[in-house]
Amino acid sequence: MIEFVRNVRLWFAPEQVREEGSTPDYRFSLANERTFLAWLRTALALIGGGFAVDQFLPDLRWAWRVGLALALLGAGVLCSLRAVNHWVRCERAMRRGEDLPASRFPALLSLVVAVVAVAMVVVVLVGWAG
């Protein structure tokens, strides 16, 4: 938890990241930046999915629709916050010459997406049967 707070402070302070270690090859930094952007696109897609569930499934019951939309939006928020946190951690690890941080987040996100997909299948089948 304390580590996370320290990371949050680093999000806003470029000088502090640059104080440590040595500047890595600029290509590594750019690759890290592209990974960050890919995660940010995933987050934006999840947020767009939240809007889409709300807008394009009007026949769904209110509770299901709002629940699914909020789940997607929550996943989007988590994904974007994690994107910047992971980017800072990778950047710092590269400067210090350490191993890149391991992460459980991709597995977690896959599980959440799978659960939402199964929920969608159930919703469609229930709506079709009823």
Binding site: A13, L44, G50, L70
Partner: protein, 107 residues
């Protein structure tokens, strides 16, 4: 190229690829913003929904500004400096704020 080495250009085209990644991300943010505006104006124009619509447009512009600055930095220098954490955080905060607007609109 007749033995002429182009030292200024990275053969892996890393800055170009990063620039295009920023463009793709801007496009994703545009799609999210368009969906936000559609949701906001769907159920009639109440003051709250108009305010949220304006906020989403503002957040989209903020994201566009961050992306534009970075794209310009990547385009002008053959060895661009690393992304500043402040700009990464700004882009993420725009995304999170848009999700917050979405939660209010959906509810």
């Amino acid at each position: 190229m007749g033995g002429v080495s182009t030292e200024a250009r990275d053969p892996g085209l890393q800055p170009e690829r990063t620039r295009l990644a920023w463009r793709r991300t801007t496009l994703s943010s545009t799609v999210a913003a368009v969906l936000a505006v559609k949701t906001a104006l769907h159920g009639g124009a109440s003051p709250l929904s108009v305010a949220l619509c304006a906020l989403c447009c503002g957040l989209w512009l903020g994201f566009l500004w961050v992306a534009h600055r970075r794209i310009r930095a990547l385009a002008t220098s053959p060895r661009p400096a690393a992304l500043a954490p402040r700009h990464a955080t700004a882009a993420v905060l725009c995304t999170v704020a848009m999700a917050a607007c979405a939660a209010v609109l959906v509810f």
